[in-house]
């Protein structure tokens, strides 16, 4: 199943992905929160995880090193914010955006029990807008709906057409 990108979110700049897994919620939770399992899937095919250590509690660290198919390694350093087994996991990551720069991403994962199946919803918020005022947040809601990408694509086409 392809991830569903929800562009109708009403809060802040986010990427939302959901996926239904054909196993009970406890199994998904275990796969998400146990280092030896996480190392098996994190990054997808071709990627491996030479380091994965999790201190699974609010304020605990998740130290991860990802190895790309070409052998290059990327550290992904995170801190858990909320840990509510088997339904909710929130963590903040420093994510590399270029060779020298990182951005902060807050991930909120919720697992919904569908009776033998599980819906995983991942909400990613980019940077921390907690200090900004409400009107700014409302503005972000508009942006997410209409889409940075759609506008970007539109402008891109404009540029490339004579």
């Amino acid at each position: 199943m392809k991830p569903i990108i929800d562009s109708t979110s009403t809060e802040e700049p986010v990427v939302i992905m959901t996926r239904i897994f054909d196993v009970p919620r406890e199994v998904v939770w275990e796969a998400l929160t146990t280092p030896e399992h996480v190392a098996q899937w994190f990054g997808g095919h071709g990627f491996s995880s030479p380091v994965c250590e999790m201190d699974l509690r609010p304020g605990g660290a998740w130290r991860h090193v990802m190895r790309a198919p070409d052998g290059s390694e990327f550290p992904v350093n995170s801190v858990f914010v909320e840990v509510v087994a088997p339904q909710r996991l929130v963590w903040k990551s420093q994510r590399r955006v270029s060779a020298t720069e990182t951005a902060e991403v807050t991930h909120t994962t919720t697992l919904e029990d569908l009776g033998g199946k599980t819906r995983w919803k991942l909400v990613a918020r980019f940077a921390d807008y907690a200090d900004r005022d409400t009107s700014v947040k409302m503005g972000f809601a508009q942006m997410v709906g209409q889409g940075v990408e759609r506008l970007g694509d539109f402008l891109e086409k404009r540029r490339s057409s004579p």
Partner: protein, 111 residues
């Protein structure tokens, strides 16, 4: 692109009027007066939006004092778009593999 740059681009794009201004500028340069026209806004209000867009590097403005035409700078939009796309691909690929992995986990549990 650093986090601050990403933030300022997202902020600039947050407002529907500013997105409309960018869409208008994608058809060519325009003056503040021309940009204000479809929005029933004062020139001062439009100028505020233009300052935000300029601060985020999404537009540049000419040097002539009176005329100062605005033009679109598309690079920050491309950066945001690419960054979000990479992010989605990462989790899409992770979820694909997790889906397979969960099935093997489930089989082992049943044994």
């Amino acid at each position: 692109m650093n986090a601050e740059r990403l933030t300022s681009t997202l902020f600039a794009l947050a407002d529907p009027t500013r997105r409309a201004i960018l869409a208008r500028l994608s058809t060519g340069e325009a003056t503040v007066g021309e940009l204000a026209e479809p929005h029933e806004m004062t020139l001062a209000a439009v100028s505020k939006h233009l300052k935000v867009l300029e601060g985020a590097g999404l537009i540049s403005r000419g040097r002539e004092a009176q005329w100062r035409p605005c033009r679109l700078e598309a690079a920050p939009l491309r950066d945001v778009s690419e960054w979000l796309e990479n992010y989605r691909q990462f989790w899409g690929a992770s979820m694909d593999k997790l889906d397979e992995y969960l099935k093997t986990m489930q089989k082992k549990r049943r044994k």
